[in-house]
């Protein structure tokens, strides 16, 4: 069962994502900020990361950069979540090595299917 880590500072969104991932058949861990997320990544080695960009303290971009810099997490699939609809944010996320990009408010079905597709790809390739 693929393990998904969800990082978002907004509790209600975190709750909805946790519920959606569980429903999709993944084991789920949640973190409200980047520091806790890093800790959980090292502990649990998730198969996928759902990462909000605007986080208190270390931003989602910063976390992504660190993950891509480390050997263990270089290939960790990351789906960026953002409430900013701006193109630049998307470009930046992709440039930093995000695998996908989802804008809030999102369609739950679309999100789940993207996560599933990404996991399938990585498992095939891996």
């Amino acid at each position: 069962m693929p393990h998904v880590l969800v990082v978002d500072d907004e509790p209600n969104i975190l709750l909805s994502l946790e519920f959606l991932m569980q429903q999709a058949g993944f084991s789920v861990a949640t973190a409200p900020d980047a520091e806790q997320a890093l800790e959980l990544i090292h502990q649990q080695c998730p198969d996928l990361l759902l990462l909000d960009i605007s986080l208190p303290g270390m931003s989602g971009f910063d976390l992504l950069e660190r993950l891509r810099a480390a050997e263990a997490t270089r290939k960790l699939p990351v789906v960026m979540l953002t409430a900013h609809g701006r193109e630049v944010e998307k470009e930046k996320g992709m440039a930093l090595g995000a695998n996908d990009y989802v804008t809030k408010p999102f369609s739950t079905r679309e999100l789940v299917s993207r996560v599933q597709a990404l996991l399938a790809d990585t498992q095939q390739g891996g």
């Binding site: 509790p11 709750l15 429903q23 409430a83």
Partner: protein, 923 residues
């Protein structure tokens, strides 16, 4: 009686002595130890006024017409006493304008008119001719008397026999003498220090000789002046009586006329102008000359009457009154005194001839000949490198010609007049210069045309009323026209013009000539326009004594090679300068003047480098001898100041443009900043709206997709949707509020309300919320009222917002919030404190920025009990409070340890005052 040889030896010795003195004076001047830099020498040199006419003629005039001779000396005394005003001005102008003669002066005054200069020079030569003739006559006559007394042969005056005429030889010898020490070298300033020294010496000699004769007459021939006068009164009652004012020819009018004539001539005679103005080295010398020269005149006239009386008493032994000075000691059988008298007379005559001839020759060469030669293109004089040879040659020729002309006048008509008469004819001619000269000093409007017309008419009247009758009376033409008028026109009789009879001929001539001279000068000036050059010169002359006029002197003088070298070196660099100077660097002590060609080349080079206006100014800063006309200086200054003005305005404009540019840049930066803030705001608003929307959509979709879900969970999710929807609408309200606040469209309805009461209402509103969040709220309210002018709904909104915020940030384990109100005299303060982490100093202003949210700890964020703020509450609250005239800020906590927000509002005035202010508000 003296032998010819003896007299000749003495005369030549005297001339040799003069020459030595002059040479000494020149050498001292060259050594820079000028002898003439003395007011006494200056005053003595002015005594060149006393010529042979004074020496011999005064006694003659006294013997025939009584006291009238004194007028000739009273005039100069008057002129000298006013000298500090008039003469000083002339000296000042002559210095600054490098004036060389009276012709030059008048020409310069009237716009440097060459024509006027020529006219003056011409008149001067004509006018002075009789005067020179007079000196020649005096010398030959005195020589004849001295050598042939008591039977002098009548002078042989005929052109055919001129080689036997002593006067001719005297003229020739003097010509050589004057050439020798008058034109030895060309001085740029036309000063002749040697000549002045010699003239001063001659003044002493003639004074000494005359006083010697006077003493001899008073104390040797007679036991004393009283005895002399008593004897004269006894023997010559008529002569004694003639020494009364009423005995002057023409009466009081004649007295007045002669006085004016002498006053004017004293200044306008070329030789007087030469010594008074041109040769003056220091205008301060005028101070002593003002009294010393009149004193000299007094001394030389002291013995005129005693000598005249003694001469008259001598009868046939003393002969002609003009010769009394000489015949008186001769008749007494003395040897040495007549010789001394002869030397005195010689000194009087030679001094006049020397100065007059030099002055005239300068005029002739500068005003008459050189201008004509320069215009004569075939001579190519314009291109000539050095004209000084030409100038010296012309002057030497002029000196010879002037003396020859003087001799001719003497030979042809010299006998017609007595010494005094000849002198007065010259005086009358010279005084024609006075209107143009003196009016020109004080009346700026005097114009060239006026001066020329006046001069021309004046000299014509002079010629008709004095000169031509003089010719006629000496037998050269019929005298009929004198008695009957030309062609029988009685109105034009020269001695009774327009029927004016009974005046002496000099006053008559002076009256008519001055009338037409001044009349035309003033009249024509009033109706003619001055050229630009005339206007500048007129201004320079009339304003000469004003302090600022001294600056004009900067443009005058000589260019020193070294100075020129330094100037060029500064602006052109060393190699170009060296090339210009032919490879030789002038030494600093080298003060040889730079040639005009060098100055011209220097100016050319500088023009290429710096432009013509600057170049001229620079060159003129070192060249002080260039005859630069004032008009061009003014035009240079004008263009320069125009350029400066233009530059100044350009500079001003560019500064203004720069300022506008800066303002635009600042405005642009401000706009960019505002645009960036707007973008940021839109992005933040978008972000803030999307966040609750995300939750709503996600849970709505979850609920819609879920087939089987526990009711409890379903309810929880629905609650989230409701809360987030509320949050969304609150956010939209706040954004609208903020937009209204920022655009100034928020409408507040201030009314008198009690802040304490509003605090109670706020506490009531939040009590339930605080209980939900289990936050302890401590309220400390005073018993009194605290009236404020505020919109109660908005103020309540602010208070609730503050309490809500405090509850969010209070300590999570034991949250406590304190509300307190403090009433001061003019203001009320509400403190809202919590026991949370507080706000660090640096963050205290940022909390009022839009969407600024203090990062909440994970625990509080994660609990879900506390919905997050919009980040707009505090900015809106501060906007409202500011609108109500109060303040909202973050302060140090007073009772709890966390954040402390302070709201301050001014206390509303009393009830009565309140209604008043309400009325004001309504109106």
């Amino acid at each position: 009686m003296q032998t010819n040889l003896m007299v000749l030896i003495v005369a030549f010795s005297y001339l040799a002595l003069l020459f030595i003195i002059a040479a000494w004076g020149d050498r001292r001047a060259e050594q820079g130890r000028s002898v003439v830099n003395s007011p006494t020498i200056y005053a003595l040199s002015i005594a060149v006024y006393c010529t042979a006419w004074t020496f011999y003629g005064s006694v003659g005039r006294a013997a025939t017409t009584g006291l009238s001779f004194l007028l000739i000396y009273l005039g100069p005394t008057l002129a000298m006493l006013s000298g500090w005003l008039v003469l000083r001005k002339m000296v000042r102008i002559a210095r600054s304008q490098r004036i060389t003669s009276i012709a030059d002066f008048i020409s310069a005054r009237y716009g440097k008119s060459g024509g006027l200069g020529m006219l003056v020079a011409l008149i001067a030569v004509i006018a002075i001719m009789p005067y020179i003739a007079l000196q020649l006559k005096a010398i030959t006559v005195s020589y004849g008397i001295l050598t042939e007394y008591p039977n002098p042969s009548p002078p042989s005056l005929s052109l055919s026999n001129f080689l036997n005429d002593k006067a001719f030889w005297v003229a020739l010898v003097l010509a050589v003498f004057i050439i020798l020490f008058g034109t030895r070298h060309l001085d740029a300033s036309e000063r002749h220090e040697g000549m002045v020294t010699a003239i001063a010496f001659e003044s002493l000699v003639k004074l000494f000789a005359f006083i010697a004769v006077g003493m001899f007459a008073c104390f040797v021939l007679y036991p004393g002046p009283e005895a002399l006068f008593a004897q004269a009164a006894a023997i010559l009652p008529e002569a004694s009586r003639s020494f009364g004012l009423d005995q002057i020819p023409g009466g009081t009018l004649g007295w007045f006329g002669t006085l004016i004539l002498a006053t004017l001539a004293f200044i306008t005679l070329p030789r007087q102008f030469q010594v008074l103005v041109v040769e003056n080295v220091n205008e301060q010398h005028l101070r002593r000359a003002c009294w010393l020269f009149p004193l000299y005149l007094l001394l030389i006239n002291l013995f005129v009457i005693p000598i005249a009386l003694a001469g008259l008493l001598g009868g046939s032994a003393t002969g002609e009154p003009d010769n009394f000075v000489l015949t008186l000691p001769l008749s007494a059988g003395l040897n040495w005194l007549p010789l001394l008298v002869f030397i005195g007379g010689l000194s009087a005559a030679t001094s006049m001839m020397i100065v007059e001839t030099i002055a005239l020759s300068t005029m002739v060469s500068n005003q008459l000949v050189m201008p004509l030669l320069l215009r004569w293109r075939s001579l190519h004089l314009q291109q000539s490198r050095d004209l000084s040879g030409w100038l010296l040659g012309i002057r030497r020729i002029a000196i010879v010609l002037i003396l020859i002309l003087g001799y001719l006048y003497h030979a042809l008509i010299g006998e017609a007049y007595s010494l005094v008469t000849i002198g007065l004819v010259s005086f009358a001619a010279a005084s024609q210069f006075a209107p143009a000269l003196l009016l020109g000093l004080y009346w700026r409007g005097a114009s060239r045309n006026g001066a020329a017309a006046g001069l021309l008419a004046g000299i014509l009247v002079w010629a008709w009323t004095l000169l031509i009758p003089g010719f006629a009376l000496s037998g050269w033409m019929s005298t009929d026209f004198i008695d009957q008028g030309p062609f029988g026109l009685e109105l034009l009789r020269p001695y009774a013009l327009f029927g004016l009879e009974g005046w002496d001929i000099y006053t008559h001539a002076l009256f008519w000539s001055m009338l037409v001279n001044i009349g035309l000068l003033v009249g024509v000036s009033l109706f003619s326009r001055q050229s630009h050059m005339e206007q500048t010169q007129a201004a320079l002359f009339t304003n000469a004594l004003r302090p600022e006029a001294e600056q004009a002197a900067i443009w005058q003088g000589q260019a020193n090679r070294y100075e020129l070298y330094r100037l060029l070196n500064r602006y052109l660099g060393s190699s170009a300068t060296l090339r210009l100077f032919g490879g030789h660097i002038p030494a600093p002590q080298d003060d040889t003047p730079a040639t005009t060609a060098l100055i011209a080349r220097a100016q050319q080079e500088l023009t290429g480098a710096l432009g013509s206006a600057t170049a001229r100014i620079l060159i003129n800063s070192v060249v002080r001898g260039e005859a630069l006309d004032m008009a061009s200086i003014l035009s240079i200054l004008d263009t320069t100041s125009q350029t400066l003005e233009y530059n100044r305005r350009l500079e001003q404009k560019s500064t203004e443009l720069e300022q506008i540019g800066n303002e635009l840049r600042r405005a642009n930066e401000r706009l960019r900043e505002l645009d960036r803030l707007k973008d940021e705001f839109v992005a933040m608003v978008s972000h803030e709206l999307r966040t609750p929307l995300t939750s709503i959509r996600a849970f709505a979709e979850i609920l819609s997709d879920a087939e089987a879900m526990p009711a409890e969970q379903q309810h929880h999710f629905l609650q989230i949707i409701v809360r987030e929807s509320e949050r969304l609408s609150r956010l939209i309200d706040e954004i609208l509020d903020l937009a209204r606040l920022e655009s100034g469209r928020m409408t507040l309805h201030p009314e008198r309300c009690d802040l304490v009461e509003l605090c109670r209402q706020a506490v009531d509103s939040v009590t339930q919320l605080f209980q939900q969040r289990s936050v302890t709220l401590v309220v400390q309210l005073p018993d009194t009222h605290c009236p404020v002018m505020a919109d109660p709904d908005r103020l309540l909104q602010v208070l609730i917002n503050l309490l809500d915020n405090a509850s969010k940030f209070a300590d999570s384990s034991n949250p406590r919030v304190l509300l307190s109100v403090q009433v001061h005299k003019h203001r009320c303060r509400v403190h809202v404190e919590d026991n949370g982490p507080g706000i660090v100093e640096a963050e205290r202003d940022k909390v009022f920025e839009k969407f600024h949210q203090i990062e909440q700890s994970a625990e509080t964020g994660g609990s879900g009990n506390r919905p997050r703020g919009t980040g707009l509450g505090l900015p809106i609250s501060r906007g409202i409070i500011n609108h109500l005239g109060g303040r909202l800020w973050v302060d140090e906590p007073q009772q709890l340890s966390g954040a402390c927000l302070v709201l301050e509002l001014p206390t509303a005035p009393d009830e009565e005052g309140g209604s008043q202010s309400e009325a004001q508000l309504n109106s």
